[in-house]
């Protein structure tokens, strides 16, 4: 069932300790800062977080990591010039890292939403990141077996929602939003605008409302 909520606090209230939480965004584009702040306020801990990065500067996901709420990161690019909170936790052995090539991260998230039990991809074949994984030659190329990444909750940012929960995004802020919405049991979207049902063109919907559970408008 779809709920429209008044505050980000209500939106994230059901997130339990130990949950796997997907967080949309690539860098700051599409990162749902307000939902992350609410998650920080809400106190859930022991989280596994799926995001392309591991937080930047002193905001959003970086703060969640700083506060010790994140047990494990699944991401492709944790190390950035301003990823000091992750760096510190990682070097202190206080956070687990599953490093996944970016395209495999995206495809594994997509597989979870699409009900695919696993797939073979050439990305990573013969590298450190395929160590211990099943491989085989397909279409004449070495390929690595990868499995879906499911989540309890997805926190994403979109531009506009309609009354049935359909979403559209804005430019490259779209990035992980659509695939995370499909991969999580419960998807929470923060949007800039809510329009009545019928206010979005059916040809242009990027995330159908079937993938969305909670919507909160953020000014």
């Amino acid at each position: 069932m779809l709920n429209f909520l008044d505050t980000v606090g209500e939106a994230v209230a059901g997130i339990k300790d130990g949950s796997t939480v997907m967080i949309g965004g690539f860098g700051n584009a599409g990162q749902p800062f307000e939902l992350i702040d609410a998650l920080l306020d809400g106190g859930a801990t022991g989280l596994t977080v799926v995001n392309n990065n591991a937080g930047q500067g002193d905001q959003g996901l970086a703060l969640l990591i700083k506060e010790g709420r994140v047990r494990k990161m699944i991401c492709s690019f944790p190390r950035q010039s301003d990823s000091w909170h992750f760096d510190e936790k990682y070097r202190a052995g206080q956070i687990e890292l599953e490093l996944v090539p970016q395209g495999n991260l995206a495809e594994r998230i997509r597989a979870a939403g699409a009900g695919i039990g696993g797939f073979f991809t050439p990305t990573g074949y013969g590298t450190m990141l395929a160590e211990g994984k099943e491989t085989r030659i397909l279409d004449g190329r070495g390929q690595v077996f990868e499995t879906p990444i499911h989540a309890d909750v997805a926190l994403i940012k979109a531009l506009t929602a309609d009354g049935t929960g359909n979403l559209v995004y804005r430019k490259t802020a779209r990035n992980f939003g659509p695939i995370m919405a499909a991969a999580a049991k419960h998807t929470i979207a923060q949007v800039s605008e809510i329009v009545p049902t019928g206010g979005l063109d059916p040809e242009n919907i990027v995330t159908p409302g079937i993938y969305v559970n909670s919507i909160v408008k953020v000014a």
Binding site: G27, F77, L97, Q102, G103, I109, T172, N175, I179, V206
Partner: protein, 238 residues
């Protein structure tokens, strides 16, 4: 000295002296200009973070090149400045960019499907090392205290029809980055087809390393720097 004059000289020099097309090593911008010139009209191209992004400064409109950025866009334009800057419109290096007419946006799985599916003509990447058979190492130094980060490097390396590498030929310590076998953790096996360096352009693949042109050195001098057998590329080896 601009690469245009270099490359004209180069053609003549190629006839005169073999493959030496410049009397001096190329700077980063000249190298970027050379890569840009070598991209076939109508190509779909991904430029990696760092030195490869310089290539976009030298693409000519009449080449009709479409740039892909793996965070979800085809038809990326130049870096945004001033009022153009929009936090929702960034490239893979998280730099604000612009949108050209004919652009399209898509989500991350669709974007990497473009790469993994072999739809990009060329991807230009930086590198720590390239092996004689085209193995690429560009994501991880392997240092015990390094925090690993891979991003889209492995997807780009395995996905594009041609993978061009741009790098200096030698490390600061004077070691060749073209090696018999990579000592850094690899990004992809046998994926590099061409290596653009300050001292020469190399063609790599299952048949070993060929030299298309040299800058400020002869093939013999180049061979002294590089620990794998080199041979001059055939005339049509561009």
């Amino acid at each position: 000295m601009s690469i245009e004059s270099n490359s004209q000289t180069g053609t003549q020099a190629g006839i005169r002296t073999g493959i030496q097309s410049s009397d001096t090593p190329l700077g980063r911008d000249d190298l970027a200009r050379l890569v840009a010139r070598d991209i076939k009209p109508g190509s779909f191209v991904n430029l990696g973070i760092g030195q490869p992004t310089l290539v976009s400064n030298y693409l000519e409109p009449e080449q009709n090149i479409t740039l892909h950025t793996e965070n979800g866009m085809l038809g990326m334009g130049p870096v945004a400045t001033g009022g153009q800057i929009d936090g929702d419109l960034i490239n893979a290096g998280k730099i604000p960019v612009t949108e050209l007419p004919g652009a399209s946006y898509f989500h991350h799985a669709d974007s990497f499907a473009i790469m993994r599916g072999g739809h990009l003509d060329i991807c230009v990447l930086g590198a720590f090392q390239v092996s004689a058979t085209g193995d690429l190492a560009n994501w991880h130094t392997g240092a015990p205290d390094a925090i690993p980060a891979v991003g889209g490097a492995m997807d780009l390396a395995t996905g594009a029809k041609d993978v061009f590498v741009m790098m200096t030929l030698l490390t600061r310590d004077g070691a060749s980055k073209i090696v018999e076998a990579c000592t850094y953790p690899i990004t992809g096996i046998g994926c590099v087809t061409r290596v653009y360096t300050d001292k020469a352009v190399f063609l790599t693949g299952p048949d070993g390393v060929q030299v298309r042109e040299t800058f400020g050195c002869t093939l013999e001098e180049l061979q002294d720097m590089v620990p794998v057998p080199l041979k001059a590329a055939s005339a049509d080896g561009s």
